[in-house]
Symmetry: C2
Subunit: 360 residues, 2 copies
Amino acid sequence: MSDARKYVEIERPFRMMRGVLAQAEIAYETWGELSVAGDNAVLLFTGLSPSAHAASSPLDPTTGWWEDMVGPDKPIDTNRYYVVCVNSLGSCFGSTGPASIDPSTGNPYRLRFPTLCLEDIANAGHAVIASLGISRLHSVVGASMGGMTALAYAMLHPDAATGVVLISSAARSLPFSIAVRSLQREIVRSDPTWRGGEYATDALPTVGMRLARKLGMISYRSSAEWTMRFGRERATDEPVHEAFGIDFEVESYLEAHAVRFIGTFDANCYLYLSRAMDLFDVCDHGGSLEAGLARVKAERALIIGVETDFLFPLAQQRELADGLKRTVPDVDFRVLPSIQGHDSFLVDMDRFRPAVASFF
Amino acid sequence: MSDARKYVEIERPFRMMRGVLAQAEIAYETWGELSVAGDNAVLLFTGLSPSAHAASSPLDPTTGWWEDMVGPDKPIDTNRYYVVCVNSLGSCFGSTGPASIDPSTGNPYRLRFPTLCLEDIANAGHAVIASLGISRLHSVVGASMGGMTALAYAMLHPDAATGVVLISSAARSLPFSIAVRSLQREIVRSDPTWRGGEYATDALPTVGMRLARKLGMISYRSSAEWTMRFGRERATDEPVHEAFGIDFEVESYLEAHAVRFIGTFDANCYLYLSRAMDLFDVCDHGGSLEAGLARVKAERALIIGVETDFLFPLAQQRELADGLKRTVPDVDFRVLPSIQGHDSFLVDMDRFRPAVASFF
C-alpha cells in the first residue's frame, strides 16, 4: 500500500505531563508547499480515532478523513497553505503509543505507557512543526478531541499560531461525556480477552471494542438524524429475532459501523486517548477558565458548534468563544443547524465547507 | 421479610401477542378500599425495573418506588382511591417471566419464554382487575414503560378506564432509544457468564448487568443535572488512576447505582422487558398513530413530559397529547422543567406531586 506518512523523532527524552518517554516518534502527512516566508503552515490535530491521513495525495490516493476540507481549491486550500496533520501521540497509526515497543523492555508499553494528556499530544505536534523549521503557524485547527488539543497547543505555545480554529470542541469535558467515555473504557476493560491490557495479537478484545464503538456512535450522532434516516424500519422481513439479535435498521447500522472499527484501532491506545479527553481542563492552565483561555495570544479564532451535538453541546463552544473574546481580537462564533450531532463536521460538508472556508 | 404481595392466576392458557403460556400468575399490591360502587380503582403499571411495591403499607412498611405519590393524603390518595399496582408479566418480582419454572419442563423458561409485548403486560394487568371484580377503573396510570403499557391497556380495553395518566412515555420508541436499549441488551448477552441465557444461579452475568445499568443511568438522567451535581469533582485526592479505574465523582455515582441493581434483577427478564419497549408501536393498533390513539375512549387524560428527558423526549408526549385530543374530551398536557431527565418522575417530587394531584 502506498503511504504518504513521514516520521520525526521528537526530542529525547520526551517529557509528558505525567511521565517521560525515553524516545518518541510522530507520524504526520503534509499537503501543499511551505512558502518562502514560512507563514502559510496549518497544523491539524485529529479526533480520537483518525490517522494523519486527512486527505488524499499522489503518495496515498486513498480518501482521507477530511477529504472534502483539505486539498487544492478546497476550504483549506493546499494551493495556498502548507497543511500538516499529525497522528496523535498515544495513537496507533505510526506515532508512539501504548502499542509501540518500549525500548527498555523490547515489548509493547501497553499499560506501562505514561498517563496521556492532550497537552502531550499538543507538545508532540509542536515538535513536528519545529522540526519542519516553522516558527509561526498560520493556524492550528482541530475538531472534537482535536479541537481540545489545538486549544492546549494555543495555551502552551501562545506565540506559535496566528489563528485558532476549534470545531465541536470544549474547554473541558462535562460529567455527561466523562460518564459516556468512562463506560466505553469499562466495557473494553471488561472483555475477558483484554487481560489487563496484555491481550494476545491473535485474541484481541474485539467484543469490548465493538460495544464501546456502538456507544460511541450513539453519542456522536443525534436522535433527530436517526428518526429521519431509520424511523422504526425493520432490518429484515422476518418476525422478531428470537435470540435478541438485530430487529431494527438502526441496530444494523450500529453493527456495520462497529465491525468496521474493531480491526483498525488498538484497544489500549483507545483507552489512553479516551481518558486524555476526560482529564483535559483549561483551568489547569492558570487556575480558572478565564486565566487559561487568556493564555491564547492568537489574532483570530473561529469557533464552530452544532445545535444537535449532545456530547460537546453548544454551550461549550459558546463558552470558548466568550472566553477567547477577552484576548483574541477577532473571534468568529458560528452555530450550525446540522442534524448529525457531534459527527457533523465529518458529514455535513455542505454546511462545514463554507464555515471553515470563511476563515481561510 | 414482611410482604404485601397478593397473587392471581390469570386465565389458562394465557394467550400472548406472539405466543402462549400454559399458566401465568401475576403479583400485585393494593392500597385503600374499593368503594361500594366499585368506581374508585386506579391501576398502576411500572417502569422496567420496579416491583409491585409502589408504596409502604402495614403489611410491608418498606419504602415503595413511588412512596411520595401513593398513600393516605398523597396525590393518589388511598383514603379515596383503591390503588392496584401489578408486577409486569415477564418481570421477576412474583409475576411469571423468563426466570419462572416452565411447567412443561420443570426448569426455568429462560429464552424459551415467548417474545414479550407490552400488550401482554397490559392484558395480564386487566386479568388482575377482572379477578378483583372491577368493571371500570377510575384510571390507568403509568410512567416510562408503564406509560406505554397503560396506553396499550387503554387501546385494548377502551371501556375499562375512565381516565388515563401517561408520564414520560411515548406512542412508540424512537430509533435513538432502541439503539440505547439494544446496546444494553448486547452488553448483557456479551457477558460470557450469560451463556445464551443459561447462566448458573451462582455465576450470574453481573458484569454485563452492571455495565448495562450504567448505560441505563446515562440515558435516564440529564447532562444538566450532572453538571450541577458533580461538575468535574474528583472521586479521590489521589492522582489519576493508573489502571483506568474511577477518577471522577460521576464515575463513582454510576458505580454505586449499578452495584445496587445487579443483585436484584434477573438478566433474562431484563432482556425481555427491554425489548418489549422497542417493539411497542401504537401503529400496530389500526395501522396509524391516529387510528391507534383513536381507540382510546377515556373521558380524561393527563400527559406529563419533562424538558430534559432525551430518552423519551418532550415531542413524544406532545404527540400523545395531540393525538388523544381527537377522541378524549379532556386532555391536560403538562411540561415540567425538571433537570433529572427521564427519571424526574421518581426524583423531582416537588413538581410531580402537584401535577399528578391535579388529576386526582
